[in-house]
């Protein structure tokens, strides 16, 4: 009898403790980031979309080889003095896994990942991107250097 009374009292106390926890949280300020009005700055290492400095690219194909999903495709043309320049360079966001391997293998730092993360679209073909086009990401808001 005494034990069951004790059980009941500890039970009720545990319930009250739980209520206190939720009640306290009720009056702490919300941790919500009100997204469209407030935006968080992306960290330095943030891996957004793949971007390219075309002038730095030496068409070595390292990034294309390193890509685990074959989302990058490149062709080049040979200029006279053994120098290669990129002819086409396409990037398929649909396949990209944002792993950053291409960025890491690039010997000249031509390919890098920018800070764009708000990439929503109605049409799928907008996800197939010509990296040599300077206005390629204009549709999506971004703050990364051009």
């Amino acid at each position: 009898m005494l034990r069951s009374m004790n059980n009941i009292i500890t039970g009720i106390l545990s319930l009250i403790k739980g209520l206190i926890i939720t009640f306290n949280n009720n009056f702490t300020s919300a941790t919500t980031l009100q997204y469209p009005d407030e935006k968080k700055a992306m960290t330095e290492r943030f891996r957004g979309l793949i971007d390219l400095y075309p002038e730095k690219c030496v068409a070595c194909y390292q990034c294309v080889k390193a890509c685990p999903t074959a989302c990058l495709a490149m062709t080049h043309k040979q200029t006279d003095e053994k120098k290669k320049i990129t002819n086409t360079f396409t990037y398929n966001i649909e396949l990209c896994c944002f792993c950053g391997l291409c960025q890491q293998v690039c010997p000249t730092g031509a390919i890098y990942m920018n800070k764009i993360y708000e990439i929503t679209t109605y049409e799928r073909n907008k996800l197939y991107i010509n990296l040599l086009n300077p206005e390629k990401y204009d549709e999506w808001p971004h703050t990364s250097p051009k």
Binding site: T32, Y35, P36, K40, E94, C97, F98, Y122, E123
Partner: protein, 174 residues
Amino acid sequence: MAMMERIPAAGLIQKFPGGKFFLASSEAVLKWGKASSLWPMTFGLACCAIEMIATGASRFDIDRFGAGVFRASPRQCDVLIVAGTICVKMSDCVRRLYAQMPEPKYVMAMGNCAISGGIFYHDTYSVVKGTEALGIPVDVYIPGCPPRPENLLLGLMKLQEKILNEENANNRNI
């Protein structure tokens, strides 16, 4: 106006003075209602499901957009967020879930896997190459692997925009 033509007395109302205005404004209200209350389905397939929960959780709080009521029953949902890889074994299930949802229904393809198979596009024998390969029309594509919660929220806002600007979508009416 297409939505209104289904209402029996619409023709009659139009004849009254101000009837057209009334119909137009009421249609705007209806669209607003549809757009402001998009209940998603509790349906996580893979990795993106964790980000979907994170979007629902305190930091990002999808409930601010009125879309926080995750219903487990497809009968009570408006949006199917395809969050993850669709596999061959699962494909019939996804198709059935979409069919079980009442009109008007919308589909968001969250993550590259749901758009095209993504990282599992090549060299796999058991992955369906995206939601559209199942014959399910997609309204908004949210790329990312997985997309950040902000991106999902942006997708939701784009979907709301689409509903508000809906002219006469013949397959999605009342």
